[in-house]
């Protein structure tokens, strides 16, 4: 029974992916930028093994001389949602920020090991972090639109990257991004109004539109719904399930039910306190979400998801 359902879901997914892609192509807006290796076309019925988009290889994070995260080895695949869960201080946000070099912005932070994006180490000195952040977008806990119009919020990144030439092309790009972020219908008549005029949930979807307007193939989300009410939260979750037809999503969340609802894979990080009270994060278990939340392999995971902690 479950097999049939999986196949149905998979084929539906592929249909919609193709649809989304052809729409994007029709709009003259290729969702995957040229340097990213494109995948061969897949037959509609068969779900092929998804390629790895991001992988970490003994990745560890230091703040000064203190190791904040023990070596992490993980693969993230195309068009999958991965949730990073764990108690405060377990390093999950730190790990997330490694994937688009956001930790570069913290002077004392240092990343050892490798983070590969389509096989290329993004910490290689020759790699431009701005280019990485264009391809690996990010959405934060608190919606943070620019103090600009709704239109400008979405067009900003694309403009810098020269992704559109001329007004008509940019209009289409903005509309596409807002449609993919499930916000278009709500804002199409007030694109000139300030991003701040929107509700919290709408602002967060605007930030998602902004993140995907630069044609990334990975979107990082750090607690994207924790500042939102339950309805706005469900909207974001629905949106994630739509977006995963075209993007890989890695989400940090404190809400285990949210992780269970949206993700394909879940990674549980735990925190270790040393005698000086310093906290080190460690990847405990990384597996299919269904498995992790029903029969985890590690007792630490079991303790955490059943509410035993300390």
């Amino acid at each position: 029974m479950s097999d049939t359902r999986e196949t149905e879901t998979a084929s539906r997914e592929i249909d919609l992916t193709n649809e989304a892609q052809s729409e994007a192509v029709a709009a003259g807006h290729d969702p995957s930028p040229a340097p990213i290796p494109t995948e061969p076309e897949r037959p509609a019925e068969v779900e092929t093994e998804r390629p790895v988009v991001i992988s970490t290889h003994d990745m560890e994070v230091f703040y000064g001389s203190f190791r904040a995260v023990e070596p992490v080895n993980m693969d993230f695949k195309a068009r999958e949602i991965t949730a990073l869960i764990g108690p405060s201080g377990c390093g999950k946000s730190t790990v997330l920020r490694c994937f688009n070099r956001m930790n570069d912005l913290i002077a004392t932070a240092r990343v050892n090991g490798e983070v590969r994006y389509h096989g290329e180490n993004i910490y290689d000195p020759s790699v431009d972090p701005v280019e990485i952040r264009r391809r690996v977008g990010m959405v934060f806990q608190k919606p943070n639109p620019f103090p600009k119009s709704i239109y400008e919020n979405v067009a900003w990144g694309a403009k810098i990257n020269g992704a559109a030439s001329g007004k008509a092309e940019m209009d289409e790009l903005v509309q596409n991004a807002l449609e993919n972020a499930a916000l278009w219908d709500e804002v199409k008549d007030k694109l000139g109004e300030s991003g701040y005029s929107l509700s919290g949930g709408q602002q967060q979807r605007l930030c998602i539109a902004r993140a995907i307007a630069t044609s990334p193939d990975v979107v990082l989300m750090d607690e994207p719904a924790s500042a939102l009410d339950p309805i706005a939260t469900l909207r974001i979750e629905e949106l994630m399930l739509e977006l995963k037809k075209s993007y890989s999503i890695i989400i940090v969340t404190h809400n285990m039910q949210q992780a269970a609802r949206v993700s394909d894979k879940t990674a549980f990080f735990n925190v270790k306190l040393d005698e000086d009270g310093m906290r080190t994060g460690r990847l405990v278990e990384y597996t299919d979400t269904d498995q992790l939340f029903t029969s985890p392999s590690e007792e630490e995971t079991e303790d955490y998801i059943t509410g035993r902690f300390g």
């Binding site: 029969s295 303790d303 300390g310």
Partner: protein, 235 residues
């Protein structure tokens, strides 16, 4: 390493309460099997009435457990072994309720067969089946309480003689075909045998759930084909 502090204590207390209510039905079910078999073997109609009355209590417990179960799921959305336990308790609640129903089926046959002639050999076989299935239920609950998957895995072997006796009952029934009154009685006893065979299967099912609870892996115990031949015999 010491076990971490339980910060989900309230839920765990409620879950324990739910578990005790579900398992509390098992003792009652074992008692009902004993009474139902005795009633049908000895033709004791008063005892049969007692069985039917007791089933009302099992039904009440069933509905109460189901209501509490839904509330607990809605309020706590448990995960991990807590979720497995919730799943197992929902299943067991139904299993035990059905054991009660099978006992009622037997008790009703006691009433129906009242005054009909009987065959001692068939009575002995039904008694033997009853004596085999009760220890099965007890072993299953012991395995559950001790979290002993190996003990749970004993159940299929314990079920084999029950299936064998059930298959044999068909032949016993055919053997009295020339006496219409005896045949009527024996046909009903065939249904008793079938009910006891089902109770045995339900005990095996209980053990499968126990293995799932402990290991997280689905277990489908092999019935060794005996069950199938029994089914083929009496439909």
């Amino acid at each position: 390493m010491t076990r971490p502090q339980d910060i989900n204590l309230h839920f765990h207390q409620e879950l324990e309460g739910l578990e005790q209510t579900v398992l509390g039905v098992v003792d009652k079910a074992v008692g009902m099997v004993e009474m139902a078999v005795e009633s049908v073997v000895t033709g004791n109609v008063e005892l049969a009435d007692e069985v039917i009355a007791e089933d009302g209590e099992i039904d009440e417990a069933y509905f109460s457990v189901h209501t509490n179960w839904v509330h607990l799921m809605a309020r706590f959305q448990p995960l991990g072994s807590d979720l497995r336990k919730m799943s197992v308790l929902l299943h067991l609640n139904t299993t035990f309720e059905r054991m009660g129903d099978q006992c009622v089926n037997i008790a009703k046959i006691t009433r129906f067969n009242n005054g009909l002639p009987r065959v001692e050999r068939i009575c002995d076989q039904v008694q033997e089946m009853g004596d085999l299935v009760r220890p099965m239920i007890r072993t299953a609950i012991e395995a559950y309480l001790r979290k002993d998957a190996d003990e749970a895995r004993l159940l299929p072997a314990m079920d084999q003689p029950v299936d064998r006796l059930n298959a044999n009952m068909y032949k016993e029934t055919v053997a009295v075909r020339d006496n219409p009154e005896l045949l009527e009685w024996a046909t009903k006893m065939l249904m008793v045998s079938r009910a006891l065979e089902r109770i045995g299967d339900q005990a095996v099912d209980f053990a499968e759930q126990t293995v799932y609870l402990i290991t997280g892996e689905r277990a489908e115990f092999n019935e060794m084909g005996l069950d199938e031949s029994a089914d083929a015999g009496i439909g």
